[in-house]
């Protein structure tokens, strides 16, 4: 496989990775926006439509992490054809290609660049029904009801048309049904600032990007296009300065294996329903204060293999006591064939242990005597297993 890097010609603008693939390929568009000159703390005139939103340092890191992961890992069941990256950050720095080590300049995520990149991305998908398109966005979002507007770097640059610097995401997803690619994956790592005031501009939800052509017949094949939202409520809960967000880290762990199952003939595959489960569980473990993930709309939900794994992933085993208040006082241990595999002392949260498939014995002990020792032997089958230890005072 030949890997070409860089911007070569109009169809290759903004690419950070391109591979020659015989047959259908996956094309990934990654947008990370942290620098908003016209929002609070920005370098330009502050927009009257700032809505309390400010600068984000986590989002570009999330986008870099996703792009690097896609280049290194996303190659089955559809081989990776291209990765496009747009980044807006206060101090721009190159993107480090994870396999070649090349340091690549990255274009900013202005609305014009995002529109161009979306058009090029769609054009790649129009190569055939077998193409796969993946969109990852990390930045600010404005939501009201089901409508979601994604803010590009230059949101608010036009005083009387702030939303010209934004994208009408729901329209993009709807209009993409006319793209030939029948498998499309959308990941939106955006804080959804609920704002009727910002969206109440007639029916203007930002740039529509694509218009549906009703004269064109419908695609003969049904589209599979699950959408995954982080949609954490508010910027303060969202930001992890200088690090990928909680959602992105959970997403990558899910794509790496915790979002897989072997229901289809024993082959390990990342599927939408399992990935959603993994996101819920992993985010709750890391940041329980963030609450439940918002509900994904149950639409475009045909079965789709997001990623095929070469081998079984480890299972994330979540060990806790029943009643839950006993967990804080418990020391946990895990044994395989009477050999200790792992141990943890008292701690506030459940104990999470990555374990390969197999049989294990889990033990809870209480140094303070508040509960009686308890143990249970269970098969661990990936991706996620809860092991409740029912303890008595």
């Amino acid at each position: 496989m030949i890997v070409l890097i860089g911007g070569f010609g109009p169809m290759s603008e903004f690419l950070v990775h391109e591979a020659q693939v015989d047959g259908p390929a996956a094309h990934v568009l990654v947008v990370g926006v942290g620098n908003y000159p016209h929002l609070l703390g920005g370098s330009g005139p502050i927009s009257a439509k700032h809505g309390g939103m400010g600068q984000l340092t986590s989002c570009p890191e999330s986008a870099r992490a996703f792009a690097a992961w896609a280049i290194a890992e996303l190659d089955t069941p559809v081989p990776l054809g291209s990765v496009t990256l747009l980044l807006s950050e206060a101090d721009p720095s190159p993107f480090l290609h994870p396999t070649t080590g090349a340091r690549l300049a990255v274009a900013p995520a202005t609305a014009d660049n995002v529109e161009t990149a979306l058009s090029q991305w769609r054009a790649r998908g129009d190569a055939g029904a077998g193409e796969r398109l993946v969109l990852f966005f990390s930045g600010h979002g404005i939501a009201a009801g089901a409508d979601l507007t994604l803010l590009a770097e230059d949101y608010g640059a036009k005083p009387h048309n702030a939303l010209d610097g934004a994208v009408d995401f729901r329209n993009v997803v709807a209009a993409m049904d006319q793209c030939l690619a029948r498998e499309q994956l959308y990941f939106v790592d955006a804080c959804r600032v609920g704002s009727l005031a910002l969206l109440s501009a007639g029916s203007n939800n930002g740039r529509p990007i694509f218009q549906q052509d009703l004269l064109a017949p419908a695609q003969p094949q049904m589209r599979r296009a699950p959408v995954f939202y982080a949609a954490l409520p508010g910027t303060s809960a969202y930001g992890i300065p200088g690090r990928p967000s909680v959602f992105t880290r959970a997403l990558l762990a899910g794509l790496q294996g915790y979002g897989a199952d072997d229901f289809d003939g024993g082959d390990w595959q990342v599927t939408p329903s399992r990935l959603q489960d993994a996101l819920e569980v992993l985010m709750a473990l890391e940041a329980p204060e963030l609450g439940r993930l918002p509900v994904p709309a149950a639409e475009h939900h045909g079965r789709v293999v997001i990623r095929a794994l070469a081998e079984a992933p480890d299972g994330l085993t979540i060990v806790e006591c029943d009643p839950r208040e006993a967990t804080e006082a418990a020391s946990f241990a895990c044994f395989e064939n009477d050999l200790e595999r792992a141990r943890r002392g008292p701690a506030k949260r459940a104990w999470t242990v990555p374990l390969p498939e197999g049989r294990y014995r889990f033990v809870a002990e209480f140094a303070d005597g508040s509960f009686r020792r308890e143990e249970v032997e269970r098969r661990v089958h990936p991706p996620l297993m809860r092991i409740p230890l029912r303890v008595r005072p």
Binding site: G145, N171, L214, A218, S273
Partner: protein, 409 residues
């Protein structure tokens, strides 16, 4: 062959749900390796405190059974299937209160809810509005049915007088109301004449300045005759009052639970098991609409046998916006020429005239449909879109039924 007798042991205050959860039965060989050829996929499992189990024939061997409930809870059990049938009672989290057990199953109560008291701003007041006629409007009409609900939610106009109702039970921050059985809520004694004016019924919850409004799908007919009890749970939360409508329909309530949680595939498993019950006699158009949403959301290429059911639903129940929304979306998705496009446009506009859809997904899909035509310069669709979108901005997407709240959804 061997036999597994599967059930989920969950207290439901006497209720039993034969189609309550979906299981995957994963087979293992004697050395602990996977034996996928002996798997049994997408098994419908009964849920209840005393419900009869489902019988699953399997090859003798070791199995891991993993069950998903509508509330998102997963539970699992290991079992060895031998000569005799093996009973498997899967344990799950129980409701924090017995009277919330049904809502806990269908996802209306968070799995690990600790029943914190409400915000203490005074009790939520629940009102029952029957006074909003469907108000058929012309193609360019003022959108009365939509403006009326918007006025209530935004407080733009004095709301019509509502009938205050008493809760069945509750505690601080939580109130349970009920249609039917011992509940204080009643549906109309007489159904309207066919073709006559259909009055929409809404529940409105007020807590301070916060308002929530939901169209109520009552009566909720069931195939065995009569109507199912419909529970209404009202929660007073820091960001306003929430209303959860839960028909106690043992076949369709779990479908609605999965659907509102975004778990379309298990919902599809349940709908496929209940398809004849949902559609053949079309006893309950609300249930049929829920099935229609699941079928459209999970449609695969060539999966068309149910398409006429949607047309039937849209045509037979001319007061139900959801049937017209489903028909419009189906026509647009499968259009082969301008006739289909025109028919889809007619369906979306008919849905608009019928008023606020009963389901949240219907409201979203109506916005999508009207936006498609508005984007082509269709001014009529553009006017309707502006109204519907303004209403949809108030939708609480976490609720299965179209619940509007003051502020944004």
């Amino acid at each position: 062959m061997s036999e597994l007798l599967l059930r989920v042991d969950k207290y439901l205050d006497g209720a039993e749900v034969p189609h309550g959860a979906v299981a995957q039965v994963l087979a293992f060989d004697s050395r602990g390796g996977r034996s996928p050829a002996a798997d049994v996929r997408d098994v419908v499992v009964p849920v209840g405190g005393n419900v009869a189990p489902a019988s699953i024939p399997v090859e003798p061997g070791d199995y891991l059974i993993e069950v998903l409930l509508p509330n998102g809870e997963r539970t699992s059990a290991e079992v060895r299937a031998g000569e005799a049938p093996v009973s498997v009672d899967l344990a799950v989290t129980h409701s924090p209160r017995e009277w919330l057990s049904w809502q806990h199953l269908v996802g209306g109560v968070p799995l690990r809810e600790n029943m914190r008291p409400g915000r203490g701003a005074g009790p939520v007041r629940l009102e029952w509005l029957e006074g909003l006629p469907r108000g058929r409007v012309g193609l360019a009409g003022p959108g009365y049915p939509w403006r009326a609900v918007l006025a209530i939610v935004t407080g733009a106009e004095p709301a019509p007088e509502g009938l205050a109702v008493a809760p069945l039970t509750g505690e601080s921050g939580w109130q349970l109301y009920r249609f039917g059985a011992a509940g204080a809520l009643k549906w109309l004694d007489q159904e309207p004449e066919p073709g006559g004016p259909m009055r929409r019924r809404y529940l409105v919850a007020r807590s301070g300045a916060d308002v929530s409004l939901v169209p109520v799908p009552v009566p909720w007919p069931i195939t065995s005759g009569g109507a199912a009890v419909v529970d209404v749970l009202v929660r007073d939360q820091p960001d306003g009052a929430r209303i959860l409508i839960s028909p106690m329909d043992q076949y369709i309530a779990p479908v609605i639970g999965f659907l509102s949680a975004g778990s379309a595939q298990p919902a599809r498993v349940l709908v496929d098991h209940a398809r004849s019950r949902l559609f053949e006699k079309m006893v309950n158009p609300f249930a049929a609409a829920a099935g229609g949403y699941v079928l459209l959301a999970t449609e695969e290429t060539g999966d068309t046998a149910w398409h006429p059911l949607i047309a039937n639903l849209a045509a037979r129940f001319d007061w139900l916006p959801d049937g017209a929304v489903l028909q419009g979306r189906l026509l647009l998705r499968h259009r082969s020429g301008s006739a289909d496009v025109h028919a889809a446009r007619d369906s979306f506009m008919e849905a608009y005239r019928r008023g606020l859809p009963f389901y949240t997904l219907g409201l979203q899909w109506l916005v999508d449909g009207l936006r498609t035509f508005a984007g082509t310069g269709d001014e009529e669709a553009g006017r309707m879109l502006a109204t519907v979108q303004e209403v949809a901005w108030h939708a609480d997407l976490a609720q299965p039924f179209a619940t509007l709240r003051s502020g944004t959804g």
